[in-house]
Each structure stands twice: as C-alpha cells, then as structure tokens.
Symmetry: C2
Subunit: 199 residues, 2 copies
C-alpha cells in the first residue's frame, strides 16, 4: 500500500476504524425496519469479506516501525485501528502526571444512561498504568483498587493519574475519573516493570 510503514499503520486504516466506531453506535441505536437492517448487514458482510482478503494471523500485538517506537494500534484502549477503543489519547504533564479527556457514548453503557463500572475500571487501569510506562518499557498491573463514588453519566469525562511513590520495580499510582460535577471513580494501583526491562 502506498505510504505504508512497517507497523502497517496507515491513515486509511485509522479512517476505516473511525467509520466502524460510527457503525457500532448506529447498530446499538437503530430503530430501522427489518428490510433496512438486512440491507445494512449485507454491506457489512461485504466489507468483512474484502478486508479478510489479507489478514495478519492472531492479534495486532505491537509492531515496531522504522523509528523504533512501538505502536499499539490494536490496543483496546488506545489503538487507532481498534474500533472498540474510544481511542484514548494519553497526555503527560511535566511532573509525570497523565491525563486524557474522552467522550464515552452508547457503546460503553452499563446502568441506563451511565458508563459501565467495568469501562471506568478499564480506563483507569490504562491511565494509572501509563504513569509507570516508559518508551519500550511497558509496566504490568499488579493490583488495582477502584472506589465508585457515584455513577458516571455517559458523555465527556476526564481521567487522570499520578505516581504516589516508587519502590524498586513497583510504581504506586493514584487516579480518578471526573465529570463536570467532580469525582465519580477513584483508583489506586501497583504497576510492575517486567524483569527484562529493569535498570
């Protein structure tokens, strides 16, 4: 493919995933009749067949393009090629704190009109873990504790996390999800750098 990099992460794939995100939302919320649904399904099945013309075996994993930075384009939280991912865009401030702002819609629903508690857990796991990540040195979750203060309404939320302290290979992180009215979920976690990535 023209412009294709070694990680297989081209703009066309990102744009495709964006279309599939819109499709997920419409699939949940459609009230169209049986004939229209059947016609839409035929288009989708056709797209699946086209894309399956060449599939990588297994999962996306992490691909290492020419500049050496690993790319997790298939990741369920940050992967630009994964339609399940919002995707989160992770920001870091000078002090090492991490934050992201994201709008969670119908696809992430648990209690009516609210984000599933498990989705909040997933976002916090990722954001807290990101405080311990370094380039080429991902950290793995040891423990994660979530305290649900109140329901998180579907819509825009902010998730943020910071390092509380570091002890050897363990990073103790804290974080929270907030909406316009304040904290909805608070979290604490211990993240561990794998043996082969220790200093």
């Amino acid at each position: 493919m023209a412009g294709m990099t070694e990680d297989g992460d081209v703009p066309e794939y990102e744009s495709l995933a964006q279309s599939v995100r819109r499709l997920i939302d419409a699939t949940i919320r459609t009230e169209a009749g049986a004939g229209t649904v059947a016609a839409a399904k035929a288009h989708i099945d056709c797209a699946v067949e086209q894309l399956s013309e060449r599939l990588m075996p297994g999962s996306f994993a992490v691909r290492r393009p020419v500049d050496g930075q690993p790319v997790a384009s298939g990741n369920v939280m940050i992967g630009v090629r994964n339609p399940v991912a919002p995707p989160l865009v992770i920001h870091r401030d000078a002090g090492g704190a991490v934050w992201t702002e994201v709008t969670l819609g119908a696809a992430y629903e648990g209690p009516p009109g609210h984000v599933h508690g498990g989705v909040c857990a997933m976002v916090l796991d990722h954001v807290l873990g990101a405080t311990a990540h370094e380039p080429n040195r991902p950290a793995y979750t040891g423990t994660l504790t979530l305290r649900y203060v109140r329901g998180t309404p579907l819509g825009p939320v902010r998730a943020e996390a910071w390092v509380d302290r570091v002890e050897g290979v363990k990073t103790f992180a804290k974080g929270q999800i907030t909406d316009g009215q304040g904290i909805t979920v608070a979290a604490e976690g211990v993240f561990i750098k794998p043996r082969d990535a220790r200093d």
Copy 2:
C-alpha cells in the same frame, strides 16, 4: 418491524451486531491494500447511513418488554445488540455462584497476545456484580479490587464469582478469571443495592 417486541430486541438486530463483531476483528487485522480498504469503508459508511434512518435518542438504556424482565441489549458486556460486548452469557448455579465462558480475541488486546488488564477488570466487575443482582434489582459497584496473578492470553477464558457474605445492602463478592493453566486475575468487590430496591 415484523416480530418486533417492545424492547426493540429482534433477531435481525442481534444478527447485525454479530456481523459488526466480525468487522471489528477484520478492521484490526486486515493487511489489505488502500483500494480495498477504501471500498470496504464505502460499504460501512453506507450501512451507517441506512441504520441512522431512525435512531433512538441517547443510549439504549434498559427497555422493559411485555414480560416485565428488563433487557439490557445495549450493555457493553452482555448486550446482544452491542458489538463491543463479546457478549457475555451469564450462568447461575443452584448455590448462587455465577460463571461465564468467553473467547476474547484481538479486539480486547493490551500487552501483545494478551487480554488488556482493564478488560479483565471489566469482565470481573460484571460477573461479581451479577452475584448481587436480582430481577429488576440491579446492584451497583461500591469497590472492586483486582489482583493480577499473570497475563491472560487472548483466547478462551472462564470468569466466575460467588457471594462471600451479605451485610445489609452490601454484597461482598469474590471471583476470578482462569484459563487452561489456572487463575490469571483474582477479584473482590462490594456491591450495593440502591435505596429504591431495598427490602
């Protein structure tokens, strides 16, 4: 729509969601060239337009069909209409324990070849919470603590949970995810029945 029930949960919608799940996997794993990707995207955009002909406002929420059992077809974990949901099928044994068996593929990836720790958290939140649910009386997560024993490889897993004890409105649940080699993640949680659903 013919056969449509009050909850809007017809077989056509479920079959549509299944097609979109296959599309999500193909979108992540395709290595097709730019022309093929553009053709597939055109089909998807067409399906979005068709399904958007009539959309419910907001999110799916919980619809109450004629038999009175609420249906959470849009739920991110169990919703048959939500392509993000595997969907989990929750089983209960006579003693009140809850279990589900599910295959988690490329769409749920975190570390290469492994389920994202946050997805494990999401599955466990749902399964532990289900121990405290009663028909028409959903319970909400108070706290959830996850201990990651080792990485969970992508593929078939079993998640199970049971009630440890009940204190007033609080249900203390425990649970775990296992693969063929044993426990990968252990969890404890406190689930709370909302005021309007207390005895």
